[in-house]
Symmetry: C2
Subunit: 139 residues, 2 copies
DNA sequence: CTAAAGCTTCACGTCGACGTGAGAGTCAAC
DNA sequence: GTTGACTCTCACGTCGACGTGAAGCTTTAG
């Protein structure tokens, strides 16, 4: 099939499919005209690529792990053991990111939960340069 | 103080401090020579900026909320109520991101936990184009 | 006075998975 | 043959908080 049909069948844009080829994730045959010719297996591969992208992997890592993966009914599985450690690395990286985001959210929660100091009149608890009146303009 | 000292005292790079000014987060005075002249209050502001950046806010949002914040002993607090809703929006955005990352990690966990299909000999469970031998080369 | 810090304003590079045209060739149907 | 859908290859734009020189003033220590 040509690129348009593959795009429709996988949900990926044509640009994305060309990009996957550029990154070495797909190797479609070429017609004499230069048109790409994809197979059914390519459609399955694209679905795997999208799954791995959704899992936060970059195309470079996907290029490494893609030829080592098998899938049964949409459930991807590593086809060799060494691959698993790579996947675990990625999972740990994601866990770290989650930790950073949770820390960031905790900071925000702290600010949100903080008591609002006296707004009018006094300058007792507000050492800010321009404390109050900008608030109305900002929102 | 000049930019170098402020950088040392806040941990921000000089480039970062110039960037904060460019984004309207700082408004240092200028000497006749063109040198920036910062105050003690600027040092406190920079610390607030870094806290908010660490909390995942962008400089545009920080520019909005910064003039409305007070802090007591390093604990930032909103100085007006409207600000809180903005902060809650940001917190919710972070929560969404966390959710996406957790979903991504779940995908990886599913792959990692999947049983490794028979690698040598058979083609029973592996419909992949080139199943096995690339694995060794990849790792 | 001189050299060395320290400061200034540009202005491009980063990282990644594409989006979005531009300009041109290919193919099917009519 | 001709229109219109489809495809091709460039190649720049995106988003953001800076990093990293470059070329040239200013201030300070000696």
């Amino acid at each position: 099939m040509r690129i348009g049909e593959l795009a429709r069948r996988t949900g990926a844009s044509e640009r994305a499919l060309r990009y996957y080829e550029e990154q070495g994730l797909l190797r479609p045959a070429r017609r004499p005209s230069g048109y790409r010719e994809f197979t059914e297996a390519d459609a399955a591969t694209v679905r795997r690529i999208r799954t791995l992208l959704a899992a936060g992997l970059g195309t470079a890592v996907i290029a490494e792990v893609l030829p080592c993966m098998a899938d049964a009914d949409g459930q991807l599985a590593p086809a060799c053991a060494e691959l698993t450690s790579e996947l675990i690395k990625e999972r740990d990286r994601i866990s770290e990111e989650v930790g950073e985001l949770l820390a960031a959210r905790a900071i925000l929660d702290g600010i949100i939960a903080a008591p609002v100091p006296a707004a009018p009149g006094g300058e007792g608890t507000a050492p800010a340069p321009r404390p109050a009146e900008d608030c109305a303009a900002a929102v």
